[in-house]
Amino acid sequence: MNLVVLSSSIVGSKTRIAMDYALKALKEHYPDVATTLIDLADYQLPFSDGRNYLEYEGDTQWVTKTIMDADALIIGTPIFQASIPATLKNIFDLLPVNAFRDKVIGMVITAGSPKHYLVAEQQLKPILAYMKAQIVQTYVFIEEKDFYQKQIINDDILFRINRLIEDMVLVTKTYTTLRQEKEKEYGF
């Protein structure tokens, strides 16, 4: 299983801290799962101009190909202005319409205010569904108060990230295995 962890903001540190914890937990509990971290802060990506993703070069090609090759994807994202950041939307725009077909996607949201809780539900999930993702419905929502000195200090958040990872591996394995069984039944 090939799992990509996407830290979707180019500013701030909370999303990356949460993604680092998710990666650590993955390596600890699921050493067989191959993981790749993409922190958008590390790359220079142009805005999508509508071309096929294979036709981008450099960072953009690497980022889009890495996501396209993944079986599962954890999207970590802050909430800006009551929505997802433009950097994350750009990733969706760079990819093909059905980019998430047969991929399992989980979400970890960091936000400065509890008022943003439904943003993932109402704005992020519809995009993932449109792009044909198998969505792990329950996401982890982390607030400012859960961080202190670049650490997550709320044990409940850590428990929830652990459960999200467990769910993702379970759903990916289940979905992949059953899909392969079904495809065998087609007999071609």
């Binding site: 096929n52 093909p96 079904k182 071609f188």
Partner: protein, 355 residues
Amino acid sequence: MSDSQFKPNHKLEFGIYTLGDHLPDPVTGKRISAEQRIHEIIEYAKLADQAGIDFFSVGESHQDYFATQAHAVVLGAIAQATKHIKIGSSSTIISTSDPVRVYENFATIDLISGGRAELIAGRASRIGLFNLLGYNLRDYEDLFEEKFDLLLKINAAQVIDWQGKFRPPLKHAEILPRPKNGSMLIWRAVGGTAASAIKAGYAGVPMFMAHLGGSASTFKQTIDAYRHAAEASGHDPATLPVTTAGFFFAADTGREALRELYPRINEGMKHTNGQGFPKQLFAQGTDPHSIINIGSPQQIIEKILYQHELFGNQRYIAQIDFGGMPSDKVKKNIQVIGEKILPAIRKYTQTNKKV
């Protein structure tokens, strides 16, 4: 215009098209040389001609895994190698080419072939030519509309005056040579969405519609939208031919056809588009109402006739060589088309009344 050859009650024409892809066969992992691939395409055209198939076309794609970038040159060879079959492009990227040069090439192909050439103009689904020739992707729509319009003008009159944004003006310019019959059939390539088809309708231009998968009835909406748009801008839809184009494979059984075709489509699309074809969607391909024409010859005949009744299309063209399909299997399909499928289709569509 020579498109008057297509009448509403005309029999359904059957054609074959290739994108000129140059892909490894996923079953063997081997890829033939570009030289061999081009010769095979010319050979398929000859066999199609001998089998009595109505039309053969070659596309251009300027990216990895393609071999017919110079598709007009390949069509020149086909014009010389064949006798009766109509030949065309599927499609010619007019956006990044000079319509004058394109017309000169195709008028020449028409003369070599004795008046058998047609031109299908498209916009490119990839940006290869934009990069190679230094065009701005932002002009994607404008380039196509302006150049396609110029192409139609060149076809309509030998001497033209024209001015536009992307090419120096033409002042009393005489575009030569002229096709054998003075003009040739020019189609607009449409990707299957109604939005694109409507533009072909407004312009009153024959439509070439590609379809990958899904239910035939979905594409009926696209064709209806095309005809409504044509009517709304004062054209008579009955005079505007429609070609539909998609995957085709005949075998003894539907299962066998799926087994032969699926890995080639799936792996080929991964190489050329970056995404495979979902097996679940492909499995629905043998359904009588699916747009993909795969199955036994009898199943395919029924599907093509069903689609013809639904669409009132004047021509269906089959893509049979995609994804490294071995040459012997392509040739076998051409033979099956000629011996079993064509006679049945001709028999049942002679007196079609629907448009």
